[in-house]
C-alpha cells in the first residue's frame, strides 16, 4: 500500500487467540432462583464466582457454543477493516468484545487509542427528553465530554436537520428524524478507533449514503475503523482490508474486493432446485407449506446452465391448506451485492382451491446481468397479513453468454441489469468539415 508510512505500522488493535463461549440457553431470560438454589446446594459458594467456574455437571446440561474461536488478527492505525460473514459467524460478538461490552472467555485483545462504539444509533435516547437534552445524554453515553458536545453542537444540529424541534420531547419525532439526530451525534464522535455495526446504516437510501459517507470521512482522516457489514459494495468501497468470519474463525483475509468475491462464491450456496416431500416437515405452517422451488431455463431442466441470454422460469409448488382464501406471492430477486433487482408479485387473484398448487413466472432473456442471485419469497394472506417469509428459497448463478454479443469487451458488464438494447445510428447531415489528421 502506498499509504503505509512509519505511522501506518502502529498497531491499533491486536487480537490474540480471542474466544467467546456462550452456554446454550445463557441468553434466555428468567433463570429461576430455584435452579440456582439447587446448584448452590450441590456446590456451596460456587455461585459467587463468575459463571466460567461452574461445575462440570452444569456444563453437561448446558452445552456450550463458541461464538468466537481462537481469533487472531491485527489492525494497523489508519486502516479500515471490513468484517463480513454470515449471520451467527461471530461478527457482532467480536465488536462487543473490542468495545468492552462483554469479556472474552479466552485470549486477549490490545487496543491503542480511544474507542468509539456505534452498535446502535440513539443508544440511551429517552423519549421524554427534548432533542437538545438527548444530544448531551447520548454524547455522554458515547464517551464525549460535555465540552466536546458543546463545541460540536451546531454541527450536530445541522447534520440532523431537526433544528426546529430541538426543544420538543423526542417522543413527538418521526422515526426518520429520530435516526437522523441519533446519527448526527454519533457521526461527530472523534475517537481514534471507531467500531461500526452496519445496523447503523438504517433509514432511506439517501440517509444510508450519508452515513456511509461519514464513515468514509473518518477513514480519510486517518482514523482506524472496523466496519461490520452485509453490504459487499460498501465493504469494497470503504475498506482498505477485509476479513471474513465463519463459525467464529477468520477464514479469509486480504484486499476487500478479493475477500468479498470469494466470500460470495464460497459461502453463498447455489441451490437451483429445492424439494420438500413430506408435507408435515416442509417449511410453512397451517396455511401454506412449500413443496418445491426451482429455477430453470424455459426450454430445459434445472441442471442446465443459465446464461445472460436464457429466458428463465421460476416455479413454486406449494400445498395450500386453507380454502376460500387468496394467497399472494412475492418473489424478491437479489444480486450478490444485496441489491433487490426486481420483485415478481402475484397479487389480487381470485381465491384458489386448497391443494397442491403450482405458481410460476418467466424472466425474459437478455435481462439479468451475470452474477449470483438469491430469491426470497413472501406469502401474504388477503394481501395484508404476512403468512410466511422464506429467505434464500433458491439461489442461482447467471453466466456470461458467448462473447459475440460484447464485441471487444470481456470483463464485467456494468449495471444491475443487462438488457440487449440496440443502438440505432444514422447519418443526418454530411456537410461538416472533416479534419484530415483524425481520419482513421
Amino acid at each position: 500500500m502506498p499509504t503505509s508510512s512509519e505511522n501506518g505500522d502502529v498497531v491499533a488493535i491486536c487480537c490474540e487467540g480471542v474466544g467467546k463461549r456462550y452456554r446454550i440457553g445463557q441468553q434466555e431470560r428468567y433463570r429461576t432462583l430455584r435452579d440456582a438454589l439447587t446448584e448452590m446446594a450441590r456446590a456451596p459458594f460456587r455461585w459467587l464466582a463468575p459463571s466460567e467456574q461452574s461445575t462440570v455437571g452444569v456444563a453437561a446440561r448446558n452445552p456450550e457454543l463458541w461464538a468466537l474461536k481462537d481469533l487472531s488478527f491485527e489492525v494497523k492505525h489508519g486502516e479500515v477493516l471490513g468484517i463480513i460473514g454470515r449471520n451467527g459467524s461471530g461478527k457482532s460478538t467480536l465488536l462487543k468484545i473490542l468495545s468492552r461490552i462483554t469479556k472474552p472467555s479466552k485470549g486477549m485483545a490490545r487496543i491503542r487509542g480511544r474507542v468509539g462504539t456505534l452498535l446502535e444509533v440513539g443508544a440511551g435516547f429517552h423519549p421524554e427528553l427534548t432533542g437538545r437534552e438527548n444530544i448531551f445524554l447520548n454524547g455522554a453515553i458515547l464517551g464525549m465530554t460535555r465540552r466536546e458536545i458543546e463545541r460540536k453542537f451546531d454541527e450536530i444540529i445541522e447534520f440532523s436537520e431537526c433544528g426546529r424541534l430541538l426543544d420538543t420531547p423526542m417522543k413527538h419525532y418521526s422515526s426518520g428524524m429520530y435516526v437522523r439526530l441519533a446519527f448526527a451525534v454519533a457521526a461527530n464522535l472523534e475517537t481514534e478507533i471507531l467500531l461500526v455495526d452496519e445496523v447503523l446504516a438504517v433509514g432511506d437510501a439517501a440517509f444510508q449514503k450519508k452515513c456511509l459517507g461519514k464513515i468514509g470521512d473518518a477513514a480519510s482522516q486517518g482514523r482506524t475503523v472496523l466496519f461490520v457489514s452485509h453490504n459487499m459494495l460498501a465493504v469494497d468501497s470503504l475498506c482498505t482490508r477485509a476479513i471474513c468470519l465463519h463459525e467464529g474463525r477468520v477464514v479469509l483475509e486480504g484486499p476487500p474486493g478479493l475477500v468479498t468475491s470469494r466470500y460470495l462464491q464460497t459461502w453463498l450456496p447455489t441451490f437451483k432446485e429445492v424439494v420438500h416431500d413430506d408435507i408435515n416437515a416442509a417449511p410453512g405452517n397451517e396455511i401454506i407449506r412449500l413443496h418445491r422451488a426451482c429455477i430453470r431455463p424455459q426450454s430445459g431442466s434445472s441442471t442446465d446452465r443459465i446464461t445472460v441470454r436464457t429466458p428463465l422460469v421460476v416455479e413454486f409448488q406449494y400445498w395450500k391448506l386453507a380454502a376460500h382464501t387468496s394467497l399472494d406471492l412475492a418473489a424478491e430477486v437479489f444480486n450478490e451485492h444485496g441489491v433487490n433487482v426486481f420483485t415478481a408479485a402475484k397479487i389480487a387473484e381470485p381465491p384458489a382451491p386448497a391443494g397442491l398448487l403450482r405458481s410460476s413466472f418467466t424472466v425474459p432473456g437478455d435481462l439479468m446481468n451475470n452474477g449470483t442471485y438469491r430469491i426470497h419469497l413472501t406469502v401474504l394472506l388477503g394481501g395484508l397479513t404476512e403468512v410466511a417469509y422464506w429467505e434464500d428459497v433458491i439461489a442461482f448463478e447467471v453466466h456470461d453468454a458467448a462473447s459475440e454479443l460484447r464485441g471487444f469487451y470481456h470483463d464485467h458488464w456494468p449495471g444491475v441489469v443487462r438488457p440487449n438494447l440496440n443502438w440505432n445510428t444514422e447519418l443526418i447531415d454530411s456537410t461538416v468539415p472533416v479534419l484530415e489528421a483524425c481520419r482513421i
Binding site: 502506498p2 499509504t3 508510512s5 505511522n7 501506518g8 502502529v10 456462550y22 445463557q26 441468553q27 431470560r29 428468567y30 433463570r31 429461576t32 432462583l33 440456582a36 459467587l48 463468575p50 459463571s51 466460567e52 492505525h77 468484545i97 473490542l98 468495545s99 468492552r100 461490552i101 462483554t102 469479556k103 472474552p104 472467555s105 479466552k106 486477549m108 485483545a109 490490545r110 487496543i111 491503542r112 487509542g113 480511544r114 474507542v115 462504539t117 452498535l119 446502535e120 443508544a123 440511551g124 429517552h126 421524554e128 427528553l129 448531551f136 445524554l137 455522554a140 453515553i141 458515547l142 464517551g143 465530554t145 460535555r146 481514534e192 477513514a219 480519510s220 482522516q221 486517518g222 482514523r223
Partner: protein, 284 residues
C-alpha cells in the same frame, strides 16, 4: 494520496488490554473518574424523567412519606399511643419517613438500575457501577424536597435544631451507603434472576417494619438491642431523629454497629458486582 496528508498524530493514549480473567477487587477509580460526566448525565436524566407526565410532579416526593406519617400518627400515635421520645408523634413519624424514603428509593432504584439501562449495557461500554450510582444520586433530590417539608414541621412545632443538625448529612450518607450496598447485590442478581424484582418490594416492606419508624428503638428490650441494631437502618433512623431533637444521648453504639454492617454489605456488594459485571451484557 489524500490519506497521506491527512495522517493524524499517532494517539498518545494508553493501551487497553481486554482479557477474560480481569475482574478484581479494584473499584476502578480511574475509570469511574473518566466517566464522571456520564454519571452526571444519567443522574440528571433519571431526575428529569421521573416526574414527567405526572400531574403533581415533584410533590410526589413529599406526598408518600407525608401520607404514611399521617396515617401512623392517627392510628399508632393517637389511638395506640406509641411513645415518641419527647417529639410530637407526627414529627417523630415524618422525620423517620424522610430518611426511610431516601433509603427505600435508593435501594429500589439501584436494584432495578441495570435492567432499566438494559439497552445501554448491551450496546455501550461504561463502568457498570455508574448505573446503580446514578440511581442512588437521583433519589437525593426527593430527599432534599422532603427535608424542606420537615423544616416546616420543625417551625410548626417550634423546635429549634441544635448544632447537632450538622451531623444530619453524615446520617443521610450512611443511609445511602446501606442502600447502595444492598442495591449492588440486588442489581447484579437481578440480571440473572428476575425473582429479585419480587424480592425488592417484599424486602422494603419487611425492612420498614423491622426499623424504628413507627415506634422508638427503646421499646426493644435492652438485651435484644444489639441484635436489633444489626439492622443497620435502626442506627440510621434513631440517629436521624437525634440530629433534630434537642434532648437525649446520641445512639452512638447503634450508629457504630450500623456503620460496620453497612461497610460489610457495601464491600461484599461491590465485590459481587465487580465479579459478575463482565457477564451482564450476556445475561441481561
Amino acid at each position: 494520496m489524500t490519506a497521506l496528508s491527512a495522517l493524524p498524530h499517532v494517539p498518545q493514549v494508553g493501551t487497553v488490554i481486554i482479557r477474560g480473567e480481569d475482574s478484581s477487587w479494584s473499584l476502578q477509580p480511574r475509570e469511574l473518574w473518566r466517566h464522571r460526566e456520564l454519571l452526571y448525565f444519567l443522574t440528571w436524566r433519571d431526575i428529569k424523567v421521573r416526574y414527567k407526565q405526572t400531574v403533581l410532579g415533584l410533590a410526589w416526593a413529599v406526598i408518600q412519606p407525608l401520607a404514611i406519617a399521617l396515617t401512623l400518627s392517627l392510628f399508632l400515635g393517637n389511638l395506640v399511643r406509641v411513645p415518641s421520645e419527647g417529639l410530637p408523634y407526627p414529627l417523630f413519624a415524618y422525620s423517620a419517613m424522610v430518611i426511610w424514603q431516601l433509603f427505600a428509593n435508593a435501594l429500589t432504584e439501584s436494584s432495578n438500575s441495570l435492567l432499566a439501562n438494559e439497552r445501554l449495557i448491551t450496546k455501550v461500554y461504561f463502568p457498570r457501577l455508574i448505573a446503580p450510582l446514578s440511581s442512588v444520586l437521583a433519589s437525593l433530590i426527593d430527599f432534599a424536597i422532603s427535608l424542606l417539608v420537615l423544616a416546616f414541621f420543625l417551625i410548626y412545632y417550634r423546635i429549634v435544631p441544635t448544632e447537632r443538625i450538622v451531623t444530619l448529612p453524615l446520617v443521610a450518607l450512611l443511609a445511602v451507603l446501606i442502600a447502595l450496598g444492598v442495591g449492588l447485590w440486588l442489581a447484579a442478581l437481578n440480571v440473572k434472576y428476575r425473582d429479585v424484582r419480587y424480592v425488592v418490594g417484599f424486602l422494603v416492606q419487611f425492612w420498614f417494619l423491622a426499623s424504628p419508624i413507627a415506634y422508638p428503638a427503646s421499646v426493644v428490650p435492652e438485651r435484644w438491642r444489639v441484635w436489633y441494631g444489626l439492622n443497620p437502618m435502626v442506627g440510621v433512623v434513631e440517629g436521624f431523629r437525634w440530629t433534630l431533637r434537642g434532648t437525649g444521648a446520641a445512639p452512638l453504639s447503634l450508629l457504630a454497629i450500623s456503620a460496620c454492617v453497612a461497610m460489610a454489605i457495601l464491600i461484599g456488594g461491590t465485590y459481587y458486582f465487580r465479579r459478575t459485571e463482565d457477564t451482564f451484557a450476556d445475561f441481561i
